[in-house]
């Protein structure tokens, strides 16, 4: 999916921009899903992912985690862990990821993978990180001015009323 988002932005089919965040300066970091990056397409797709993210939130508002791309840490939500019943251990596993996100001081972690999204969301709540977790599609539509008020389940209060379609 990320390759196509990047392609469509490069081709001018998705006319995204980061003007909405010029004054807000809301900070974002991004999770590299293990399956898509390390296990499938490598750093190239991680670069596409960053190209998309920077295009929609502004380069100055993106903070990368360390380590990242193919060397990134798994969030702990993959491999069936969300349904394995070992919740305490899963949250213990996620400490590494939670700390990595907190160090970036980002307001949002973009998780364009359902396992990552669910796990990181839980990590933020469990360890009191107060960072929101959001799909990429939400931010792409926000930046295009086509995100309605009912499509904002994962946006924090800071973005609930920004560039609402039809408002």
């Amino acid at each position: 999916m990320y390759q196509y988002y990047a392609k469509w932005i490069r081709e001018g089919k998705l006319k995204v921009n980061s003007d909405w965040n010029k004054d807000l300066k809301i900070k974002f970091t991004v999770q590299d899903p293990c399956q898509i990056v390390r296990k499938s397409y490598g750093d190239e797709v991680a670069d596409d992912l960053r190209y998309v993210v920077k295009s929609i939130v502004g380069e100055e508002n993106f903070i990368d985690m360390t380590p990242n791309k193919s060397n990134n840490y798994c969030c702990g939500g993959g491999g069936g862990a969300l349904q394995s019943g070992y919740k305490e251990q899963r949250l213990q596993y996620g400490i590494v990821k939670d700390k990595q996100i907190k160090v970036t001081k980002a307001d949002y972690c973009i998780a364009a993978c359902h396992n990552c999204h669910a796990q990181i969301h839980e990590l933020s709540e469990h360890y009191g990180g107060n960072y929101s977790v959001v799909h990429l599609w939400t931010l792409i539509c926000l930046s295009l001015g086509i995100l309605g008020e009912n499509e904002r389940a994962y946006l924090g209060d800071d973005l609930k009323e920004v560039a609402v379609y039809g408002a």
């Binding site: 999916m1 089919k13 702990g76 862990a81 349904q83 070992y86 939400t138 086509i146 499509e151």
Partner: protein, 243 residues
């Protein structure tokens, strides 16, 4: 005078590791471990159940099959492959973990994963939430109609199901249609905006595959085949995994 070297007696004990080696290209490099510990130092699962990737591999090399095939750690490791990426010898420890999962009698594997796999086998949606094809089609059509009516720029937006000859076959995680249907819409809007020719399938639409995590190979394959065959029958060119 130096003491006489210790001689190792008896036959090699390990059966499990030998079995796994046969399954993997180059034997998964399982016998190339330098014991450096790079795997364990960068593994978030290190320390859970008093286990870590190096220890797991050493236990395999020592033939401690009973311990390997009974530790619940194999369900805590997410098989993320960071250990392989970091390993100077590219040793496939996650494949060892996978086979250890597969060695558990199915009914003793984690209930949640078994349940999600069994749900997916209930009907041709292959959804871990058990949602039948008709329900999926209904939700998609219902949500689409609502957005077409209320958002004028999207009055022509489509969310096709089983559209023959579509370029993209898009799958869908069950979470959205079942619990938060509005979350399907942003992606539809993106596809509409770029003019993508896409379709869902009424069969094999679900993107998740817990049978794979369960290490149930036959069911894993069945689910993948359902999706792929649907995409092929429709004549789609690109199988597009959702976010």
């Amino acid at each position: 005078m130096a003491e006489e070297a210790i001689k190792l007696g008896g036959k090699r004990k390990s059966i499990f590791m030998d079995k796994v080696k046969k399954l993997l290209p180059d034997g998964g490099n399982l016998n190339l471990c330098l014991t450096c510990g790079t795997c364990s130092s960068g593994c978030p699962a290190t320390g859970l159940e008093n286990m870590d990737p190096r220890k797991f591999l050493r236990m395999a090399a020592l033939g401690m099959d009973e311990e390997l095939t009974s530790t619940p750690w194999v369900w805590m490791c997410t098989m993320c492959y960071r250990c392989v990426y970091a390993c100077p010898m590219q040793i496939d420890i996650p494949a060892l973990v996978y086979e250890a999962r597969a060695s558990w009698p199915r009914e003793t594997r984690p209930k949640g994963i078994v349940g999600s796999c069994d749900m997916a086998l209930r009907n041709e949606s292959c959804s871990a939430m058990g949602t039948p094809p008709d329900d999926f089609v209904f939700v998609v059509e219902d949500v689409l109609e609502e957005y077409r009516e209320t958002q004028p720029d999207f009055k022509d937006m489509e969310a096709p199901i089983d559209k023959k000859g579509a370029y993209f076959f898009l799958n869908q995680n069950s979470r959205e249609p079942v619990t938060e249907p509005d979350e399907m819409v942003p992606l539809w809007k993106i596809l509409h905006t770029v003019g993508a020719d896409w379709t869902y399938g009424s069969k094999g639409w679900a993107g998740e595959n817990y049978c794979m995590f369960l290490a149930d190979n036959d069911s894993w394959e069945k689910i993948v085949k359902t999706s792929i065959n649907t995409a092929k029958e429709l004549g789609c060119r690109v199988f597009l995994n959702t976010e």
